[in-house]
């Protein structure tokens, strides 16, 4: 299972990096978005991936101990935060690109006035 996740994370990081290096500003933002996704999957991978069943989901069915062995809830809390933050970041980066286009009249970053 780890191998599949590792391959995905590696591929997403590679493609995201490639996009970050483009001259088209929109593609740079896409690169950021893809790298955020990859990082989130990476974090989930670090908590150990268990195929979802009603037992493993970190939502308890019982109010009393002993509690069942769920998947790691800490990484999920982290990733939940990360998803929301990366949403804010991507939205901001997009608007910034829009404003940069207005100021420079081009979305090609190499054509900007220094």
């Amino acid at each position: 299972m780890t191998l599949a996740v590792a391959a995905t994370v590696g591929a997403l990081f590679a493609l995201g990096t490639f996009l970050l290096l483009r001259d088209d500003l929109v593609k740079v933002v896409w690169g950021l978005a893809i790298i955020s996704q990859a990082a989130n999957v990476y974090l989930i991978g670090m908590g150990g991936i268990v195929e979802g069943t009603s037992e493993t989901v970190p939502v308890l069915a019982t109010h009393h101990a002993p509690f069942p062995e769920t998947v790691d809830p800490v990484v999920q809390a982290l990733v939940l935060t990360a998803i929301v933050i990366s949403f804010g970041m991507t939205a901001f980066a997009l608007t910034l690109s829009y404003r940069a286009y207005q100021e420079n009249e081009s979305i090609n970053v190499t054509e900007w006035k220094q």
């Binding site: 599949a4 994370v9 990081f13 483009r22 893809i34």
Partner: protein
């Protein structure tokens, strides 16, 4: 008797408190704020004075888990140093109120001066390695501010930067040296940062240092730090540069106190490092500086420059004193520390008077000043004769003890050790020469070109007069000063019993003969001063390429050029350049880390991957590829959406329903925002440059491979179970959080503050978006 903690804390803390308040007072009372400084210095002086006769260590915990404490140790050496700093401080503040009259930025000036005084008192009493380092660096920083007082002046900037680089560079050596000591102390079972305990258990620490081969490194590091601070060869050149500072600063920092921090520190650690290596390094360094400083002082053309080189030379004398192994060594070091502070501070103040009243600092333009400045002339006579070491003035006694130390060392060592007394005499001849030259400014005929010399106001000559009276007092009754403090100071640095014997010799011995030669040759050569100077100037010019300051400028220029060259490559203003360097270096460091710590590639676990998950992840990767090769922005955004939704499904499969929900909401919103923005942006057409694409692809593969390997290394073993933190949350979610959804409980209860921070981030992002979108139309630009 035990010292009192509150007295020391107030004495050290008060200058800092006053420093913070000074700018406020300056607004109210103007430049009279200098008197506040004098008052603070008087209070500190008085408080330190009450501790005379006490000895011991007092502490208040600071970081108890690491045994770091605000720890002060009081003994003769600390008291001597602190009394000099605060006592001369009083005079300097009084002098500065007149001298700095009408100058700008006096609030900042007095603030830095007060903070400096507090730091120097801190260095004097600090008995904790970290506290010592802190105060040590504070003296460098305040010195930087004071040297750079004329902020607009290029030479002032250059000199301040030079002093900063040298002394802070030395400070870094000190830090490493102190950490080595701390490690040794911890190994020896003595509190790691407790300097007082380290010195008490010097033998044990020394054994630990030697067993681990750290003795010489620690010794060398501490010596470099002291040499940088105390202007020893080859790091002396910042001191003459520091003379661009106003004269009160030169008198206070760069003659009496800050430059003695290095000497003081060596005196402090002498009991720990004492031995043949110590003597070879420290005594030789001191002797060398004594000679070089004295020769350069003879060469100087400016009176403050002369005094600066002379200071370096005398600091060399003290360091050599502490370097010698015989009991005469620390006696000479401590006694000269005291004498030098008195006469050199007086001479700097005299130099200020000359500059102020005669309008020139050039040695060749000055002469016959005694008619206009009779009191100043008397002060100068006492101070210069003491500096030259002419009996019966105070400088003679301490220099005579140094001669005894050198003589005894030579007799014990034989052979090359005779170079010590020979060098001491050679250097001292030059000392006599430049001292007489300085005195000659007041004697002889007044040159025609020199305009009217004004009389000095009382407030200018009173402070040096007090110091001169001090010199005269020590000259007449040396035993009183010795008995009061200097004996205790010397014994703090010595292992042997100490008994300073200061009197005019009555019968001939080796050291006495050394003094006779010094004074005789000095006086005999003085008529040929100009000739000696021109010979020295020729030698000096011929060796210019090897001067430390030339090396310094060369290194500085090379660093400048190198950083300019690097920045044209790294700092281009193009996103791709930054991404390139950042990712390439981050990945290279990561891979280097793996290569150096992990053996072999990670083996992926064998658990089977469900087909659904392979399918979802595969679609996600294909979507990402589609995004990368997308022709138009719209197709790219839509395929980016597919990637996001696939990741959401992956979360469902990987037991994270909350993540999937959030991801779905976020993806939907993002898709909308993307489409809204893209509608406003033009299409992008550009021919592909294959060279660029290949290079970028190479970096991408490198980054991807690093990420791939990192996931494999970081993934937990499948049968590991939950971490301690995770199972704690699982077990307490219901009883303490009152909810069965553990992720929710973590976010809203256990780590609610983090979630609040996250919400603030989103709010800031939203506000920024709003500003970016709306403010342009309101005419923010153009």
């Amino acid at each position: 008797m035990e010292p009192q903690l509150w007295v020391l804390t107030v004495a050290i803390g008060l200058p800092f408190v006053a420093a913070v308040l000074t700018p406020l007072f300056y607004r109210v009372v103007g430049e009279r704020v200098g008197y506040l400084g004098a008052a603070v210095a008087t209070v500190s002086f008085g408080l330190v004075l009450t501790q005379v006769g006490t000895e011991g260590t007092v502490a208040t915990p600071w970081i108890p888990s690491h045994d770091v404490a605000l720890r002060f140790h009081v003994d003769g050496l600390a008291l001597l140093f602190a009394l000099l700093a605060s006592g001369i401080g009083v005079l300097i503040f009084a002098y500065a109120t007149t001298y700095m009259h009408g100058m700008p930025d006096l609030g900042r000036f007095y603030m830095a001066l007060l903070a400096f005084m507090g730091s120097i008192l801190g260095v004097a009493f600090a008995a904790d390695l970290l506290v010592l380092f802190l105060f040590w660096e504070l003296t460098s920083v305040t010195s930087f501010i004071l040297i750079g007082y004329h902020t607009e002046d290029a030479s002032s900037q250059y000199s301040a930067r030079m002093a900063m680089i040298i002394t802070v560079g030395g400070g870094l050596c000190l830090l490493v040296g102190l950490l080595v000591l701390a490690v040794a102390a911890e190994l020896a079972g003595v509190g790691a940062f407790n300097l007082a305990a380290i010195l008490e258990n010097a033998e044990t620490i020394r054994a630990v240092l030697e067993a681990n081969g750290l003795f010489v490194p620690a010794l060398v590091l501490v010596t470099i730090a002291a040499a940088a601070k105390s202007a020893q060869v080859p790091l002396y050149f910042w001191l003459p540069g520091a003379m661009v500072a106003p004269t009160p600063v030169s008198a206070f920092l760069h003659s009496a106190t800050m430059v003695k921090v290095g000497v003081y520190a060596l005196g402090r650690v002498r009991p720990l490092f004492h031995g043949p290596e110590w003597m070879f390094l420290v005594a030789t360094l001191g002797m060398l500086t004594m000679t070089v400083g004295a020769i350069l002082a003879v060469l100087a053309s400016d009176i403050k420059e002369l005094l600066a080189y002379s200071t370096a030379s005398h600091l060399g004398l003290m360091i050599a004193g502490f370097g010698f192994q015989t009991h005469y060594g620390p006696e000479a070091g401590a006694f000269h520390l005291f004498n030098h502070a008195l006469f050199k501070a007086a001479l700097f103040l005299v130099a200020g008077i000359i500059a102020h009243e005669a309008g020139s600092r050039q040695i060749d333009e000055l002469g016959g000043l005694w008619r206009a400045l009779p009191v100043t002339a008397a002060i100068t006579a006492v101070a210069t004769l003491s500096m030259a070491g002419i009996p019966p003035f105070s400088g003679f006694y301490s220099k005579e003890i140094l001669f005894e130390a050198a003589w005894e060392t030579a007799q014990a060592g034989g052979g090359l050790a005779w170079l010590y007394p020979a060098t001491a005499v050679f250097a001292s001849i030059f000392t006599v020469l430049y001292s007489l030259r300085f005195l000659w400014l007041f004697l002889g005929e007044k040159p025609e070109e020199l305009g009217t010399v004004h009389r000095a106001p009382f407030t200018l000559f009173a402070p040096p007069a007090v110091l001169a009276v001090g010199v005269a007092f020590v000259s007449l009754l040396p035993d009183v000063a010795i008995g009061f403090l200097v004996d205790d100071a010397a014994s703090a640095a010595a292992l042997e019993p100490v008994a300073i014997d200061a009197k005019i010799p009555t019968h001939l011995s080796g050291p006495v003969a050394m003094s006779l030669v010094t004074i005789g040759v000095g006086f005999a050569a003085f008529p040929y001063y100009t000739e000696i100077r021109s010979i020295l100037a020729r030698l000096h010019g011929a060796t210019r390429r090897t001067h430390p300051v030339t090396v310094y400028n060369g290194l500085l220029g090379a660093t400048d050029r190198a950083s300019a060259a690097i920045s044209t490559h790294v700092h281009t203003g193009q996103i791709r350049t930054y991404v390139w360097w950042l990712l390439a270096s981050a990945c290279a460091l990561t891979v280097a880390g793996y290569a150096s710590t992990v053996t072999g590639l990670p083996t992926p676990t064998s658990a089977e991957t469900p087909v659904a998950m392979i399918l979802v992840l595969g679609v996600a990767v294909f979507a990402a590829i589609a995004v990368t090769v997308a022709e138009s922005h719209v197709t790219g955004v839509l395929t980016l959406g597919i990637l996001g939704f696939m990741v959401a499904i992956f979360y469902i499969l990987a037991s994270g329903p909350d993540l999937a929900l959030t991801q779905l909401v976020v993806e939907t919103l993002l898709l909308l925002i993307f489409l809204l923005v893209i509608e406003e942006l033009p299409a992008f057409y550009r021919e592909l440059e294959w060279g660029k694409v290949l290079r970028d692809a190479a970096l991408s593969v490198f980054v991807g491979a690093t990420a791939f390997v990192s996931v494999l290394y970081a993934a937990p073993a499948e049968d590991r179970g939950l971490t301690e933190t995770a199972s704690e949350y699982v077990d307490t979610a219901v009883p303490e959080g009152g909810g069965t959804n553990i992720v929710n409980v973590i976010l809203t209860d256990f780590r609610a503050f983090d979630t609040l921070g996250e919400s603030i981030v989103i709010v800031i992002a939203a506000l920024s978006v709003l500003v970016l979108v709306t403010m342009r139309d309101r005419g923010e630009t153009q």
